[in-house]
């Protein structure tokens, strides 16, 4: 029992979180999904993100759900993200399903809720597929191609660059609080509550030193960006073209599109 709680507790540690975030951002760049051109994925995503909202046929939706479930599997999504997904879907609409069933709802009341849940799931899984399969840089160049401002595209890539640093810094500051502070006794349920409140308090307190430290670091970054021509490139259209030239469609994109369309068509046929 103790081992189990310890294992569970371990999953809440910042170290675990950091590992999972990195895993999700970078750990799956060798999957099939990651090899697809970002533009193909973004168009695919727009379709799967919007289309389900206009459909009401449960069979069709179920078909779509199976499809995005498979792509999610192919993208080798980090476990934490999947857990968050399930939690998210449940809090969105899943609980209504249980509640209405509990209060004696019949299949007729359940059906709309089920459809709603399916729709949420499809769009969520589609976004998980796309954003785990695309590492930040590919995502950025894809967005750039669609005419997104460079500042926005760059900030996505840069956020991922500093995320590990940020989390490590945060971890250490939090540790300063933990080690030098005095945690309340956590025996009994009152103690447990006090302990949780204490933890939340030091997490909040850690933000100020974190911000100050990051501000101190970013001075160099800002100067370095200037030296390395970041601003110069932003004002220059030729360079933007160069940046998106590295994107190339391959046979894989073609097959991916073909399979998606074929599957959709199949679903339509079965549903009607």
């Amino acid at each position: 029992m103790k081992a189990v709680t310890e294992q569970l507790w371990d999953k809440f540690s910042l170290d675990f979180l950091r590992n999972q975030v990195l895993k999700n951002a970078y750990g799956n760049d060798d999957t099939i999904i990651a090899k697809i051109d970002p533009r193909t994925l973004l168009i695919w995503y727009i379709f799967f993100g919007v289309f389900p909202w206009f459909m009401h046929n449960p069979t069709l939706l179920l078909g779509l759900f199976i499809f995005v479930a498979v792509t999610t599997r192919l993208a080798k999504v980090a476990p934490l993200v999947l857990v968050l997904f399930c939690f998210g879907v449940f809090t969105q609409s899943g609980y209504l399903l249980i509640v209405s069933w509990f209060f004696g709802g019949n299949l007729e009341t359940l059906a709309p809720l089920l459809i709603m849940t399916l729709k949420v799931s499809i769009t969520s899984l589609a976004s998980i597929t796309v954003f785990s399969g695309l590492n930040p840089d590919r995502l950025a160049s894809g967005l750039l191609w669609f005419g997104c401002p460079d500042q926005f595209a760059f900030s996505i890539a840069f956020a991922y660059r500093i995320l590990p640093i940020l989390m490590e810094e945060f971890q250490n500051i939090l540790l300063s609080y933990r080690l030098r502070g005095q945690a309340p006794d956590n025996s009994g349920w009152r103690g447990k509550i006090r302990y949780v409140i204490y933890q939340v308090r030091i997490i909040m307190l850690s933000f100020l030193p974190l911000m100050l430290n990051i501000a101190k670091r970013s001075r160099t970054t800002v100067e370095a960006l200037e030296l390395r021509g970041y601003r110069y490139a932003n004002q220059n259209k030729v360079i933007k073209k160069m940046k998106i030239k590295m994107l190339q469609l391959s046979q894989l994109d073609f097959y991916f599109a073909l399979i998606s369309i074929a599957w959709l068509w199949g679903c339509f046929v079965v549903a009607s």
Binding site: I173, L179, R180, L212, A224, L227, I239
Partner: protein, 564 residues
């Protein structure tokens, strides 16, 4: 090539000018060191060369900076970047892309070179990083990150490279690699190299000329070795000449009549110089065999540690690791980056739990204790002091742990610590705004506030200039009486020699040597395996068939000879 005439610069809001009439010329193909104490204007001078001043940092400036006859101060920053490359001291903040090749090619892409990828690859090749081109930034070690920052600057193929303290954070093996690469760039590719450097041993070995800055003025520019012979003037400016030079100077001063000889600055010069003097007396190696039974403070048995990795299976770092730490030990933990020093420290303070094995403290099994529970028995001072500063002032930070634990007279105790660590003048300031040395002293005071019986220090002298480092070593001496057991993880062999009574050499998760400095340094195989470079003075004495760990010991060994 670079010509600076009567350059003045004052930062906005500053009372005094940082640069106060600098006149300087640097020739094509030179390898120059800029030396000077903190605040002498070294970094500011370099920023006037890369265009950050006045293009980006606005201040009050006058004078002329020329590059091959062109006026640098009226040139757009992008144009300068293709001529002069710059590597920051906090280089990791200069790296902005997630992968290695991308970052190396980042500048070239931004400045619109069609062949930016090839340029990036060429630069990585010059910096020995080609094998890592597809890696992510966080997979690189500190030394590799520094080389990447260099590659990023190099990719634009500038004629001049400026590096602000290129080896401050590197272990000796990586430091040598860095300088060998710079030397190669200088000799084979004709780059002009300007370094801001505190490590005078490297200046002697690699640089051709040296410029001494003091209070925003150039005092002189000399041949590098001639410059290092100006012992007294350098020490007055808080710069420490090579140990060999200092020892030679001291010996010369004591022996009247032999003033004429030229002081040595490098190892080979030193050999000639000292051999010409009397032979070195074999210092009495005092083998203190402490047969006194020492009490065990910490006992690690059969420890196995695994790390999560982003890809693939967890990695095992420690496999059945065993270690006893005795009460009263003053341990130096040495070994190259990645040998397991930090892991061992994390294990001891309870931040990392072993997969298997037992940790006992004073005979009590603490393997499953949380870090909070161990906090008053063992304390860790981080390598990065900013992360220990969590309150609004230094005083509040020192008081914090005692106040939380309801120590009765915490204010008096904090005051005592503030006095002990010479923090009175800055006790009410925000710690983050202090200088490197002050911040480090503050973090030491914070670390020992609870008077833990065991104190762990992670790289207490990293990133400090030599003068500040001496100050920290002196501060650590103060600790010896206050804290029973101290463990320092460090690359700084001078610190090891002056502080430790026991040295643990780690190499890929194993203790490969454990003993006194005599025992460890005389073991060539261990030195090689763990990449340890003993202090220059030790190596000099070793060459001469003697043994000395500090300049004073070295000089004394000669003096004894005279007395006989």
């Amino acid at each position: 090539m670079i010509k600076i005439k009567d350059l003045h610069f004052t930062y906005p809001g500053a009372q005094q000018a940082t640069l106060n009439g600098v006149n300087l010329e640097i020739q094509q193909g030179e390898f120059v060191a800029i030396i000077g104490n903190n605040g002498s204007g070294k970094s500011t001078l370099c920023k006037t060369l890369n265009g950050l001043i006045p293009n980006f940092i606005v201040g009050d400036g006058s004078g002329r900076v020329e590059y091959n006859g062109e006026d640098l101060w009226n040139m757009p920053i992008g144009k300068i970047a293709k001529r002069i490359g710059y590597v920051y001291q906090d280089f990791e903040n200069q790296i902005v892309c997630p992968t290695v090749l991308e970052d190396a090619a980042f500048s070239c892409l931004n400045y619109g070179f069609e062949d930016y990828m090839e340029k990036g690859i060429d630069a990585l090749n010059l910096c020995d990083l080609l094998a890592k081109k597809d890696d992510y930034i966080w997979q690189l070690s500190g030394g590799q990150l520094h080389l990447l920052a260099l590659a990023g600057a190099l990719a634009l193929a500038p004629d001049v490279l400026i590096l602000d303290e290129p080896i401050a954070q590197l272990d000796p093996a990586h430091a040598k690699q860095m300088y060998d690469i710079l030397k190669d760039l200088n000799e084979k590719h004709g780059k002009t190299i300007i370094v801001i450097e505190h490590h005078s041993e490297y200046i002697a070995d690699y640089c051709q000329t040296a410029i001494l800055l003091h209070e925003g003025r150039v005092l002189w520019k000399k041949d590098a070795r001639a410059a290092l012979r100006e012992c007294q003037q350098l020490i007055d400016c808080h710069i420490y000449p090579p140990q060999i030079t200092v020892a030679a100077q001291l010996l010369q001063d004591q022996k009247t009549g032999v003033k004429s000889a030229v002081l040595p600055t490098t190892f080979s010069e030193g050999k000639v110089f000292f051999q010409a003097m009397d032979s070195l007396v074999q210092a009495d190696v005092i083998h203190t065999h402490n047969d006194v039974e020492k009490e065990i403070a910490v006992e690690l048995t059969d420890i196995t540690v695994q790390y999560r990795s982003v890809k693939g299976d967890p990695k095992t770092l420690f496999d059945n690791f065993n270690l006893n730490i005795f009460k009263g030990d003053k341990i130096a933990l040495i070994g190259s980056n990645g040998a397991g020093k930090t892991t061992l420290m994390k294990l001891l303070v309870g931040l990392l739990k072993p997969k298997r094995g037992k940790i006992k403290m004073n005979g009590v099994d603490v393997t499953s204790y949380r870090a909070e529970q161990l906090a008053s028995h063992i304390s860790l001072v981080y390598q990065n002091p900013e992360q220990m500063l969590i309150k609004e002032s230094v005083r509040a930070d020192i008081e914090f742990a005692m106040k939380e634990r309801k120590v009765a007279n915490y204010q008096e105790q904090a005051q005592e610590l503030i006095a002990l660590f010479d923090l009175e003048a800055i006790a009410e300031n925000d710690g983050r705004l202090l200088s490197g040395g002050q911040m480090r002293r503050a973090s030491l005071a914070i670390g020992i506030a609870l008077e833990p019986p065991i104190l762990l220090l992670d790289e207490p002298t990293a990133n400090l200039d030599i003068a500040t480092r001496q100050e920290i070593i002196r501060t650590l001496e103060l600790l010896k009486d206050k804290i029973e057991t101290v463990i320092i993880a460090t690359h700084d062999m001078q610190l090891v020699c002056e502080f430790a009574t026991r040295i643990l050499v780690l190499s890929s998760g194993e203790v490969i040597c454990d003993g006194s400095r005599e025992f460890v340094f005389s073991n060539q195989a261990v030195r090689k395996q763990a990449g340890i470079e003993p202090p220059a003075i030790y190596q000099m004495a070793e060459q001469l068939g003697g043994c000395a760990y500090t300049v004073n010991e070295f000089v004394q060994a000669f003096q004894k000879e005279q007395c006989v």
